[in-house]
């Protein structure tokens, strides 16, 4: 009896050892961990995605990426619609550390990654009458810029921040990195880019008294 138990125990140990050896010899598949944000870039300390305060007009938007289209319309030769994947595949990506300054008094310095707004607009072919670029968001928010601001500067439309994909509350799939402008010009959840000749167009907060240029070196209630 004792010999039988001893034999069974020995066999179990041998089998367990063999199983251990087999599983450890086999190369393991790479697991997917949650994205970790970069907190320092080229010696510069970065803010966390959690340092942003939620102050959008209708709360965080959950955009269904399967139905999502970014359209470019208005005074362009080739109006176009792109899926999220098409944008990521077809446009050169760039990285830049830019600080967002909110009118509420807080700021956040982030490593942004995205494509240049001017690349997308140039491909659509702006007509000569186009003066203003109006950005529309999923929640109905809008803001606008003179066409020169977008075309003469390297303004990013970001899809990553601090090395991780944008979170829904941070503007997934795309947020404008409107550097040198107050935070209300950094439109999130972009769905449409419209070129217009309406220089009197005012966005959501601009209609409510905020500066239309939104220049950081001026007060946000300064008349333009």
């Amino acid at each position: 009896m004792i010999r039988k138990i001893g034999g069974a125990l020995g066999l179990s140990i041998i089998l367990a050892g063999a199983l251990f050896a087999v599983t450890n010899c086999k190369p393991k598949e790479t697991g997917q961990l949650a994205p970790v944000e970069v907190r320092e870039y080229q010696g510069q300390k970065l803010s966390s995605v959690n340092d942003f305060r939620e102050n959008s007009i209708k709360g965080p938007q959950k955009v269904n990426i399967n139905n999502y289209k970014l359209s470019i319309t208005g005074l362009v030769k080739n109006p176009e619609e792109y899926t999220y994947a098409q944008i990521l595949q077809n446009y050169q990506s760039y990285e830049k550390v830019v600080t967002l300054n909110c009118v509420e008094g807080w700021s956040a310095t982030v490593l942004w990654k995205g494509f240049l707004a001017k690349d997308l607009i140039a491909e659509a072919g702006p007509l000569s009458e186009a003066r203003v670029i109006i950005f529309h968001a999923y929640d109905g928010y809008t803001t606008s810029f003179p066409i020169e601001y977008i075309m003469n500067n390297d303004i990013l439309i970001a899809y990553h921040m601090n090395g991780a994909s944008l979170l829904p509350e941070r503007g997934f799939p795309f947020q404008l990195v409107a550097e040198s402008k107050w935070g209300y010009k950094w439109i999130k959840w972009i769905t449409k880019i419209e070129l217009s000749d309406d220089t009197n167009y005012r966005g959501y907060w601009e209609k409510r008294g905020y500066s239309n240029t939104g220049d950081l070196d001026k007060g946000f209630f300064d008349n333009d």
Binding site: R53, N55, I57, K58, G59, V103, E104, W205, R208, G209, Y210, F221
Partner: protein
């Protein structure tokens, strides 16, 4: 004499209550900036974020004046009672 004491008491009361009102206004307009969706709904659209900003940013001077008066009334002159 009684009149002066009464006047002083009324002046103190005005400063105290004004200061309290201003503190509440500071607080509410601050919320009107950071929690503007809730405050706009709660005030039926009366206190917008833009208005909150404008009021909040201009409160510091009257607040300072009332605070100085309040401190002066308490420290500069001892409490007096009137009958």
């Amino acid at each position: 004499m009684i009149n002066n004491a009464l006047k002083s008491h009324i002046a103190k009361a005005i400063v105290h209550w004004s200061l309290l009102a201003l503190v509440v206004l500071y607080f509410v307009t601050g919320l009107g900036i950071t929690q503007y969706r809730a405050v706009e709904a709660f005030t039926f659209g009366l206190l917008t974020k833009t208005l909150s900003f404008k009021v909040h940013n201009n409160l510091w001077f009257p607040f300072l004046v009332l605070l100085v008066l309040h401190i002066y009334q308490r420290i500069g002159k001892p409490n007096r009672t009137y009958k």
